[in-house]
Symmetry: C2
Amino acid sequence: MNARLNAHADAPASLDGLLRPRAIALVGATERSRWSNGAFANLGELGYAGQVHVVNPRGGHIHGLRAAASCRAIGEPVDAALLMVPAHAIEDAFGDLHEAGIANAVILTSGFAETGEDGARRQAALAGLARQHQVNLLGPNCLGLINYIDRIALWTIGLPTRLTGNVALISQSGATASYIADHAGRQGVGLSYIVSTGNEADLSVARLVDYMVDDEATRVICLFLETTRDTATLAAAARRALAAGKPVVALKIGTSPVTAKAAQAHTGSLVGDDRVFDAACRQLGIIRVHSIDDLVATAALLSRLRPRGGANVAAIAISGGICEIAADRAEASGLALPELSVRSRDALDEVMPSFGTPHNPLDLTGAAILDPALFARSIKVLDQDPDIGLIACLYDLPTEPRHGYSQQVIQQVGQAFSAASTPGVLLSIAPRPVPDFSRMLAEHHGLVYLGVGLDRGVAAIAQAQWWARQHPLSPQPSRTALPAGEDVQRPRSERETLDFLVTQGVPVVPARMATDPVQAQGHAASFNGPVVLKIASPDIAHKSDVGGVCLDVAVEEAADAYQQVRHAVASARPDARIDGVLVSPMRRHGIELLVGVVRDPQWGPTLAVGLGGVWVELFKDSSLRLLPVGAEDVLAMLGELRCSALLDGYRGGPVVDRRWLAEVIARIGDAALALGPDLASLEVNPLLASGGRIEALDGLVVWNTPVEPAQ
Amino acid sequence: MNARLNAHADAPASLDGLLRPRAIALVGATERSRWSNGAFANLGELGYAGQVHVVNPRGGHIHGLRAAASCRAIGEPVDAALLMVPAHAIEDAFGDLHEAGIANAVILTSGFAETGEDGARRQAALAGLARQHQVNLLGPNCLGLINYIDRIALWTIGLPTRLTGNVALISQSGATASYIADHAGRQGVGLSYIVSTGNEADLSVARLVDYMVDDEATRVICLFLETTRDTATLAAAARRALAAGKPVVALKIGTSPVTAKAAQAHTGSLVGDDRVFDAACRQLGIIRVHSIDDLVATAALLSRLRPRGGANVAAIAISGGICEIAADRAEASGLALPELSVRSRDALDEVMPSFGTPHNPLDLTGAAILDPALFARSIKVLDQDPDIGLIACLYDLPTEPRHGYSQQVIQQVGQAFSAASTPGVLLSIAPRPVPDFSRMLAEHHGLVYLGVGLDRGVAAIAQAQWWARQHPLSPQPSRTALPAGEDVQRPRSERETLDFLVTQGVPVVPARMATDPVQAQGHAASFNGPVVLKIASPDIAHKSDVGGVCLDVAVEEAADAYQQVRHAVASARPDARIDGVLVSPMRRHGIELLVGVVRDPQWGPTLAVGLGGVWVELFKDSSLRLLPVGAEDVLAMLGELRCSALLDGYRGGPVVDRRWLAEVIARIGDAALALGPDLASLEVNPLLASGGRIEALDGLVVWNTPVEPAQ
């Protein structure tokens, strides 16, 4: 038992007792169970220095230890218990834990929420037990945890790796965690923790991320997610991690349809769970990856190297072909490899006199085979270039002791990188393992080495550079949420929605209510030009479908148009309550945008912005952010649209004032938040933009619990 | 010397003498050269069974052999020479080869076209020497070749792999070939040949592909390309390979700007070298990949397994997380993993009773850890599903002899795959090496195993399935090129271009020439509605810029418009020859397409089709094919457009007759071919389509060698 294990003696509510227990109990231990044997063997293999107790109601000797009949019979303080009991015995086991004062439990047992409704009920009961007995519960349906730093395992299958390091791996799937850890180990990437959270009846990935932000041994936090729970905790933890300079890398799989409620609005089709998660990652500085390969490559890089935000990357290889593959892969990953400065090019010309203009990536050519010192000399030049923030050298480390030439290169590169102030990384050409020999060779020469191959390595560098650019940003949301007004009157109709938007500072096209033809004509005359007439009814959501809209009406035709609209609606929807007919000026020129807010079941209110018509309908060209957002965020969203250039005037089209447009959209986002938690969606479609005139032409609100029937 | 080496005795013009020489000469051999020592050592390492001669003007003993002073002094037939002489001695060496009757030479020497214009001249002289002396020349600036089947190396650096197999690797970069081969070896993928073609003064990758199509030992042909030369040979060889069922997998890097000439036309900006190569690959059934990892993964799969075209893929794993990663990666690779049939689901329910509805990918769950026979039983069910053409099992093979459970799984999977008629493949979860132990284990159990990880493995399966769908297609172009008419009058102006298109069966908007205002008004009246007036001049390409176009002119305004156009042009371009003013009906409704043919410097006439306006200008939304194409090909091109749905009526827009549109576009392609090899580009912009009315509204031809000045 070491000092670190004692450090949390006065903080029992934290997760220290679960992740760094001084004493543990294997409950349900028996030598006839492979799980029990596995758990005990793993403790021995890691060399756990704390106290191990075995618990079995039958007593006797198990795994060479005298078994206690129950936890309370142990008679000594125990921090965490690994429950290996059948489902029906879990309730009693919790009572036993409570009496023994054990505050942390790991439950491997499956057959809960993952099996359907009955299982979900059993799981809810389990969560209730945990709360009742004030036990932190990991699981059920998980594989447990391994703490490599303090040599602790509550883990029943074989240890996937033995390599200790600074990467914490938190996974909803135990088997996948095992595969990831195994691959990390083969790549020479050591772990601080593996935590398998399973069904997350109590402890979620989010809670574990929060813990790892403060864990001194952990430098990178890797996640495998099948779903997201407790997004508020996750968001807060991710922001803390970013502020602390601790990268979070997430591999998340699966997509789920949005709720039927949100899908009622047009925006719904744009907002898939997966795109919202993408937006959340961008906003929170979480690096998102899509394969085990990329997860390990990115973690490997960031566990060893701290990139500088905003600086360029330079690459070096001894083959033109490899340089060109690297350039192509960089482009595909969105990583810029800009040309070198004139000064660097001139300096490189002196180093390699006969090889023409040096480029980035820099081809040292076969000359470096005859003279390995070319590596060091060119790295020295690149290090002196203030624009370059990372130097990547493409070269394979040997995996066993027998490469004479390689040794020279490694020595040259190692010395040059060690002397340089610019961070450097050595990347293998193709994926290859990093066994102990390679790893120790790299360490000996002070080299950061990735064996993942240049394809994944370049992608990892691109991710790290992105992360470094997020890092100095404010870790707080750029605008705090406005208080959700409980006193806000719920807008029911288009008119009420637009009226509400006006109160929130959103410019809205003028509209006047007419209740007879003469009034309609008067309103049209007051607008001094062609107008639009629309039926106003709280019962009619889709006005065009019932003949309730008349476009481009001249002043002298406004009275007739009024009659036409009233008759059409009276015939199609005789039941509908009619407030009158709204008369608005006809807007011809401008760019139509769609601005929608949808409540994501996991992440809450999410803003989608796109250009109207074909762009969102056929191309799904939209940008997403979690709310709240400020105008600066919306400017970035507009820049992400593929059709962004249309806002700057196209073929004589209008040039839009982007700053004002962004401000208006941010206000629509705030307006949605002000409508409170029962809002399912708020959509402005179109928001018409032309120069500095930005106007909402139509608006629609959908509530989760409608107070009155709507069409 | 074996029988196979003798087989080509009567076919000296083929490449057999180069790739399977019975006797070789190392010219310029000396024990002071690492190249010479390396070449000799490699022959020994492979166990070359033919005759080795060393040549050095100083004679003596080199590498333990008596040196001949020259090739002609050898006095015995020699098939191939490895020239290791300085650049200035090459000319004499060729004379010596000629006198000695040696028909094949490998030249490693660098300092030719890769260094600039002087080098290019030296290389041209070298090519002339080769032709003059009727020598097949590999190089210069290459690394030589290795024939693993017949144990022959004309290769000076270390052998990158020793594993013999059925994958031929042909590369313009020797160093990159070496990295690829090394990675292939680590993945347990054996090679038949490595050929490094270097600068290709004589023998190109295309010639080597052609050779490998007929090579019995080669089943997959892998290429690394920095550029494409001799595309006609490459295309013909690729078609033969497809017909022979021998996949060609190409990793090509770099992009080059199109010729300035072609870029004059609008289409130029759409046709980058790289996109043309993509189109060529699609048309020729070449699998294109973008990284060494993918090249090796795809070759590994196709070297061992022949996929069935058109059939579905089913996947199996023992972790839900892994199943979901596989599903995500399949979607990203464009590989469908469709749901299983009801019959298969029912049958699987019997195999795995308590695990709910079976899906694809199929999660065997932890139950398979307790009962490895679940693998075999589920494979058996999937094998009986006639819709399934490939079964992928996600599982890691051990790399050393110590996994008890793995052995059981491998036995189960091996037996099930061997008994199945559906092809099966075992994929590792993450990238891991395939050392001899794993490779032999797989072979012993009759398993096709890839260690590239599921990300690359799934991508390789997607590529293989694509290839299998191409394979049964006609290996010939769907339309043979029309004879390029030398007697075709060169269209100079818009009018002449449109007139020419009419002769080729392309519908063109009516147009009548007016040479005075009254005539203009008469033409307008004959079209019975608003018209367009355009200046007609062979000297003016961009009519709008000089006020030469007047749109939407009413009949009664036509005379005035005529005057306006003439005055504007007379003022802007007083020098221009004027044929008159063309009067055409104004077309309001319809979808504008851009149809362009550009001569790619490597691949020749290439057709680009896109929707006009914002689609091609902002989105670069276009589809490319090498000419000739038939209407069926164009239908496929239209389907590839991201805005394809616009052709089917959008927001009240016209529904276009796709078949007729495709036929018209194919005729434009034929028209371009009919204009012969001096055509730089032909562009129809717009081609207006509305229902069954498809009309060229404007056309422009650019020639490589203009016969008269144009604006």
